[in-house]
């Protein structure tokens, strides 16, 4: 049993770290326990270190410090055993554009020792599972983004892996394709496969993950079930949109509000963690009126994962990372694929 009392760890990391050339610390001393059979989320903004973490756990990149075991095997000393136990769908969809969907899956089967009629049957089964039977004879370069993602997912499943790594499986997909992937993730997990899923989408983490870790700048800033993480905040979140009002002055005016735990200044907004949000709003409005401070909308909500991220890092997950998410993602990927130190 692991420290969470949830069975043998499918993944266990201790002080796992990766520093790239030039001293870039992509992952810093990460401790992690993922139980057999669970869907574990790894939530963080672009450039937080999610892909680097996945690449280390999949044996694609050696750690510069710390240790990790996947399916009971050390990622450095027992790489072959780890690779036999895992399936991987990386953020960058890895498909060979020259092959048809069926050829690609049959080759993948062959690489895992499933050859001949067994390989052909398994490929057909997986094409059916991801709804690509009709497109099986087309070259993958003609597939849409959603089809490519589903085929990539199928190719990670040929050998019925114990642990499946999905690195941002829905990034770039339209809402309908995203829902399809979610359904597939649930169905794969229902068959007993442990899933380690990285995502930058709060809703995805909330929907799919039994437990999750939030990573920011290479460090785990929070870890637990989504409900527990939200409950840990223990407060309502009152958002005050500033609409041009001075943040410091507004904060001064609101002052020592009864039940106020913390005020977090965001871009053009204040987030107030208070014991009773509904009751606080009237008092906030009264104080702002008295001081003649005009603000935008004031709303109250139960804590979300974004609020968990906000409390841990001081900023919202959406839009976090860099000013140019695409660029940051490319940098993260490039760093993850860069040459060893």
């Amino acid at each position: 049993m692991n420290e969470n009392g949830q069975g043998t760890p499918a993944i266990q990391a201790r002080r796992l770290s990766r520093t790239f050339k030039g001293g870039i610390e992509a992952v810093r001393s990460v401790d992690l326990d993922v139980s057999e059979g669970e869907v574990f989320g790894f939530l963080g903004p672009n450039g937080a270190g999610k892909s680097t973490m996945v690449r280390m756990l999949c044996t694609l990149l050696p750690p510069t410090d710390g240790t990790a075991k996947v399916a009971g095997h050390d990622i450095v000393d027992e790489g072959d055993e780890v690779r036999r136990s895992i399936g991987v769908a990386l953020q960058e969809i890895g498909l060979d554009p020259v092959q048809t969907g069926r050829e690609l899956l049959e080759l993948q089967c062959g690489l895992y020792g499933i050859t001949g009629s067994a390989g052909r049957e398994r490929a057909a089964e997986l094409l059916e599972l991801v709804g690509l039977t009709d497109a099986a004879e087309r070259r993958t370069k003609t597939y849409s983004g959603g089809m490519k993602r589903r085929l990539d997912l199928a190719s990670a499943l040929v050998h019925q892996p114990r642990v499946l790594f999905l690195d941002e499986p829905t990034t770039g997909l339209d809402p309908a394709s995203r829902l399809t992937v979610w359904e597939e993730v649930r169905s794969i997990n229902a068959s007993g496969t442990t899933i380690f899923l990285t995502t930058q989408y709060l809703e995805e983490a909330d929907e799919l993950c039994e437990r999750l870790a939030i990573i920011d700048a290479g460090e785990i800033v929070a870890q637990g079930t989504p409900e527990a993480l939200k409950a840990e905040i223990g407060k309502d979140v009152v958002s005050v949109e500033l609409h041009g009002a001075d943040a410091e002055r507004t904060q001064q005016v609101i002052g020592e509000l009864p039940g106020l735990d913390r005020v977090i200044a965001e871009q053009d907004a204040l987030a107030l963690l208070v014991e009773n949000g509904a009751a606080s709003i009237a008092e906030i409005v009264r104080r702002l009126d008295a001081a003649d401070v005009e603000v935008g909308a004031i709303s109250v909500s139960r804590p979300s994962l974004d609020d968990v991220f906000l409390e841990a890092t001081g900023r919202r997950l959406e839009g976090a990372g860099t000013d140019h998410p695409d660029e940051a993602e490319r940098e993260d990927e490039a760093a993850a694929r860069a040459v060893a130190p």
């Binding site: 694609l60 895992i86 990386l90 062959g110 070259r139 060893a340």
Partner: protein, 251 residues
């Protein structure tokens, strides 16, 4: 072994399905053959002693064969795969990393056989005669293809170490000095002393000489063995380095 066959079959499929990647590599050797014959055949008529009664096309064929088989195609295919992410997918499969290279080299052999056959047939169409006969023609194709496989090791090495499409593409330019610092236009003894020295230390010279002997002289075993030995030595070094590069890839 199964994984090598599977990956080799995939690489051959790539060659067949992307003729646009192979056909341009045939243009230069055929163009080179036609232009050289057109320009130099009057300077070196068939009465020229080193031609042994043949036209200049017979003397030039080995150079065109080298051009046809020594390409950056495999290196480019590999670096494109690295860039596109499929290479990572293959790396996380429980296979020997070296299989990824060996499988691709199998496709190089197929491509080399096809390309050198086309050049050989073009040479015959231009009037060359294979002195060593049909069996010699087969040996010419096999030796040239083997050289193509050995040289592919260089492109793979550049692809794995730079992971850059442009660098891999331009690495092919290195083949020009290797090909031209040889007795490509005239025999060793007709070169200037400096050029002769450079040509004699260039291993590619001995591959050209070996192939040429099969076309012009017949079965000159020592030249053929030297040609084979140099090709194998180049293969051991270049493919050996590329196998080491893939074993150490991100490790």
């Amino acid at each position: 072994m199964t994984e090598v066959l599977l990956l080799g079959r995939r690489a051959v499929r790539e060659v067949v399905r992307y003729p646009e990647a192979t056909i341009p590599t045939l243009f230069i050797p055929l163009f080179f053959l036609a232009v050289n014959i057109g320009q130099v055949s009057k300077t070196f008529p068939s009465t020229t002693p080193f031609l042994h009664g043949q036209g200049y096309v017979a003397f030039q064929m080995p150079v065109s064969l080298m051009f046809a088989v020594a390409t950056a195609t495999t290196g480019l295919a590999l670096v494109t795969e690295i860039d596109g992410g499929y290479f990572d997918k293959l790396l996380v499969a429980p296979i020997r990393r070296t299989s990824l290279i060996v499988g691709r080299l199998g496709a190089d052999l197929v491509r080399g056989i096809a390309a050198s056959t086309v050049v050989l047939l073009a040479g015959l169409a231009f009037g060359a005669h294979i002195q060593s006969g049909p069996a010699g023609a087969v040996v010419i194709v096999l030796l040239a293809s083997l050289f193509g496989v050995a040289y592919a090791g260089f492109g793979i090495l550049v692809a794995l170490t730079t992971r850059n499409v442009q660098a891999t593409n331009t690495s092919f330019l290195l083949f020009f000095p290797l090909l031209f610092l040889t007795p490509n236009f005239v025999p060793f003894d007709r070169l200037s002393p400096v050029m002769e020295t450079l040509a004699r230390i260039n291993p590619v010279s001995y591959v050209i000489v070996g192939l040429r002997s099969l076309i012009i002289d017949g079965w000159v075993i020592d030249k053929i063995l030297v040609c084979l030995g140099v090709t194998l030595a180049m293969g051991v070094v270049l493919i050996g380095l590329s196998l080491r590069a893939i074993r150490n890839y991100d490790r």
